[in-house]
């Protein structure tokens, strides 16, 4: 413990990262508000991705040159753990919105309970879920919703299996079987890509045939914000796993020291658990 904690001297990545994120957000705002600004947004996004890549590269090389001790390892563990907790709360907001709407807002709109006075606005409205006909006729509802026992079930099986394959890869790494680890990790990446592809197909179906759109009342809104942010997290998780695959191929990990790999596993399992919640509450019930 004597003075071994590594405090990097200086780094240009955080300041550049802030700048890039600011440029990206300004570009996004310009695009949304003024309809032009995609170039600015793209420059910012490239900047953010570049800074992330270079920053992580520094961390990887510091780790490989032995600058990190066990205490540093614990800092990363706490950091990653609390980061995932923040992600849990991010999804909790969207799940909370879904539950609130289904349990309170819609029944009240339909005239239930002491607050049923809101039924005066749309007297013909009856509450039901999935909400195919929103209260006001100006808002088109979905024509129909997905059966959970087709593509969503397939995706559930894929994602749950991917957690298992990733665990096998992790165990292989801990046992020192690098090639086994490589193969199972590659399999996990493939499963992740399959999930993303099927989700893309489902989104296409939603817009083309089911009438489930962002504008389709509260059903479309909750459907897309939950599946959308989850899908984004699967994409990020898959990229992380691809990076881990590259690092496994370059022999970066030892059976004892591989927190980068382990953190990726944590993240992937978290994304998997969120999906199970989605499957139950968005698709099944």
């Amino acid at each position: 413990m004597s003075g071994s904690y590594y405090v990097p001297a200086t780094s240009k990545w955080p300041a550049l990262g802030s700048l890039a994120l600011g440029v990206m957000m300004v570009g996004l705002g310009m695009t949304l508000v003024h309809g032009r600004g995609t170039v600015v947004m793209a420059i910012g996004l490239v900047g953010v991705l570049a800074v992330m890549a270079l920053w992580f590269r520094d961390v990887v090389s510091e780790s490989r040159s032995g600058l990190y001790d066990a205490q540093m390892d614990r800092s990363f563990r706490w950091g990653m753990g609390w980061f995932i907790f923040s992600e849990v709360m991010f999804f909790a907001a969207f799940f909370g919105a879904l539950f609130y709407v289904r349990t309170f807002a819609l029944p009240w709109l339909g005239g239930e309970g002491t607050k049923g006075a809101t039924a005066l606005l749309w007297p013909e409205f009856t509450a039901h879920w999935p909400l195919l006909s929103p209260p006001d006729s100006s808002v088109p509802g979905p024509a129909q919703v997905f059966s959970p026992w087709q593509l969503p079930l397939v995706n559930t099986l894929i994602l749950v299996s991917s957690s298992i394959t990733l665990t096998v890869a992790h165990e292989a790494l801990k046992e020192g079987h690098r090639k086994v680890c490589r193969n199972w990790l590659a399999g996990t990446v493939l499963l992740g890509l399959c999930f993303i592809t099927i989700q893309a197909v489902e989104y296409y179906e939603a817009y083309a045939h089911y009438g489930i759109t962002l504008q389709a009342g509260i059903y479309g809104a909750t459907f897309f914000i939950l599946t959308g942010f989850h899908g984004l997290h699967v994409i990020i998780g898959t990229i992380i796993l691809i990076v881990m695959l590259a690092r496994v191929l370059r022999r970066h990990f030892t059976p004892e020291e591989h927190f980068g790999f382990e953190a990726s596993c944590w993240y992937w399992h978290f994304v998997d658990v969120v999906w199970v919640g989605l499957f139950i509450f968005v698709y099944v019930f």
């Binding site: 609390w82 980061f83 919105a97 709407v101 909750t222």
Partner: protein, 545 residues
């Protein structure tokens, strides 16, 4: 790592560590602005946070003075109502997100590693990132004032549909700037938790930590728990505005009240985020200047934890007048009143610490004492507001404004000022100028009470908040409030003078600047604290009880 400032007396431990040398050490530090842009040093980043916060405090203060100027007398004198709305909104947003929160984070950056005997924050580069996101976020937020249609004008709570359907076009930029600020807060909080849990000096148990560290540990947990919820709710706003979703639109099956539930699920823990570290600062100062140990250390810790847990269960008390089933009103009313119990424990312990103490009244103690008295006033008006049937009367009046300003200005901000006066000798090596500090304190106390105390009366008499004009019977109260606001605002310039003088010179402070009853680890390093401290962890010795 070589010190970046001229050689100073350093701790024995740190010099040995520096000579032992790491592979990464001995880079020439960058000069000028680059030093501040690239730094990974917790003290430099803490200073950046504090300077940023002070700057934003003045900007938000100017907005408040525009509001008070308009309200000086009835009628519309100086600004258009549209602009008045932007001023009330931006005042709240800037003060909450850009002044108070960064001030506490800055104090955390400076003091937590010093108080737990750590060489730096656990993740120093992330620390730098957390800070430099802030100028980006609030530069963007302030720029909305110059955009077509003006800046945010819907109050700092940005209720839908006022902030969605009826909002100015710049709202999208407001949302994005808040996203950046949120990322900054979450990453900063993760860093603070990792530092506290992982970087304590060998031998220091959790229950040995100074209360400022404890309160920040719990605050950081609150931040990580609720800032993502804020991110979620503003994302839903963004979708409603730009992509035609119906989250907060009843026509599509959504609900504007959903916005309020989500916002206040974030918002209520948020107000404790702005007060818990204040409790920590005051718990450090009062024992020092009472020349006694803190009364009831363990109960202080449990009280803070209890307040944090309860903070998740009381958000509905902001929404009594909105419409909620009776059982919900009862639950939120009683849960809110429960908070008075742990808060009472804290106030009792502070008073008991002073009881039969040998008290002296240096500037930090003055602000801490004012904190205890005035925060308690704010707490009592909070209890009044917690009573659901009474709240129907008080809701959206100046009584609410008086309540939360009492807990935030002579509450949070006085604690920040107390902390600054308390630790300035450690930061600069000099004591703050006594005479100027006293002027600053007394003018602040008089100004604050002249501003906010009359608001209780105008509020109880029914004056609505956030309106640029008012009925004649409120004229005297508002005149007093405006006078007080200008006294308070301009007397803060004295604080700037004190800081500048303190940095440039003044009476030299020894390591234990405030005497032998300040025993936390920060007082074991020289004043001013060298750039690098505790590079070799000190061995923590538990004071004999």
């Amino acid at each position: 790592m070589a010190p970046k400032v001229p050689p100073q007396p350093t701790l024995e431990q740190s010099s040995t560590a520096a000579e032992a040398g790491h592979g990464h050490a001995h880079h020439a530090p960058p000069k000028g602005i680059l030093r501040w842009l690239l730094t990974t040093n917790h003290k430099e980043i803490g200073t950046l946070y504090l300077i940023f916060s002070l700057t934003m405090f003045f900007i938000g203060g100017i907005f408040a003075l525009v509001v008070r100027l308009e309200l000086f007398q009835p009628g519309l004198q100086f600004v258009r109502p549209e602009f008045f709305n932007q001023m009330t909104t931006m005042h709240g947003l800037i003060m909450v997100f850009a002044a108070v929160m960064p001030a506490f984070t800055g104090l955390a950056n400076w003091m937590i590693p010093l108080q737990i005997g750590a060489p730096d924050m656990a993740l120093p580069r992330l620390n730098n990132f957390s800070f430099w996101l802030l100028p980006v976020a609030f530069g963007l937020l302030l720029s909305t004032l110059l955009m077509p249609g003006g800046g945010p004008n819907f109050g700092w709570t940005f209720y839908a549909p006022l902030s969605t359907t009826f909002a100015p076009p710049s709202t999208t930029f407001f949302i994005l700037s808040l996203h950046i600020a949120g990322i900054s807060s979450i990453l900063g909080a993760i860093n603070i938790i990792a530092t506290i849990l992982n970087m304590r000096a060998p031998g220091m148990r959790l229950m040995d930590m100074p209360l400022f560290v404890w309160t920040w540990l719990i605050t950081a947990f609150l931040l990580i728990a609720v800032m993502p919820v804020l991110a979620g709710v503003i994302t839903m706003m963004l979708m409603d505005i730009n992509f035609g979703t119906s989250f907060f639109n009843a026509a599509g099956g959504g609900d504007p009240v959903l916005f309020q539930h989500l916002f206040w699920f974030f918002g209520h823990p948020e107000v404790y985020i702005m007060i818990l570290p204040a409790f920590g600062i005051v718990s450090a100062i009062i024992p020092t200047f009472s020349r006694k140990r803190l009364f009831g250390y363990a109960s202080m810790v449990y009280a803070v934890a209890a307040i944090a847990v309860l903070s998740f269960l009381v958000w509905g008390h902001h929404m009594f007048a909105v419409g909620m089933p009776l059982v919900g009103q009862l639950f939120f009313m009683y849960a809110t009143m429960l908070i008075a119990v742990p808060t009472g424990v804290k106030v009792f312990n502070w008073v008991a610490t002073m009881f039969r103490g040998s008290i002296s009244f240096e500037p930090p103690m003055l602000f801490a004492l004012a904190f205890v008295v005035q925060f308690t006033i704010g707490g009592f008006s909070g209890l009044m507001l917690a009573i659901a049937p009474a709240d129907f009367q008080y809701h959206d009046t100046y009584f609410v404004v008086a309540h939360f300003h009492y807990v935030l200005v002579p509450g949070a901000i006085f604690a920040i000022l107390a902390g600054a006066y308390y630790w300035l000798p450690k930061w600069t090596g000099h004591y703050p100028n006594e005479r100027l500090s006293q002027w600053h304190f007394w003018l602040s106390v008089i100004g604050v009470n002249l501003t906010f105390f009359p608001m209780h009366f105008s509020g109880l008499a029914g004056m609505p908040r956030r309106i640029p004009d008012y009925a004649l019977q409120f004229a005297d109260f508002n005149l007093a409030s405006s006078l007080g606001a200008f006294i308070f605002g301009f007397s803060q310039l004295l604080f700037v003078a004190v800081i500048v003088l303190c940095v440039r010179g003044g009476k030299k402070a020894p390591a234990q600047a405030w005497g032998e009853y300040a025993t936390d680890l920060e007082w074991s390093v020289p004043s001013p604290a060298p750039l690098h401290t505790f590079e070799t962890p000190p061995t923590f010795e538990r004071p004999a009880h």
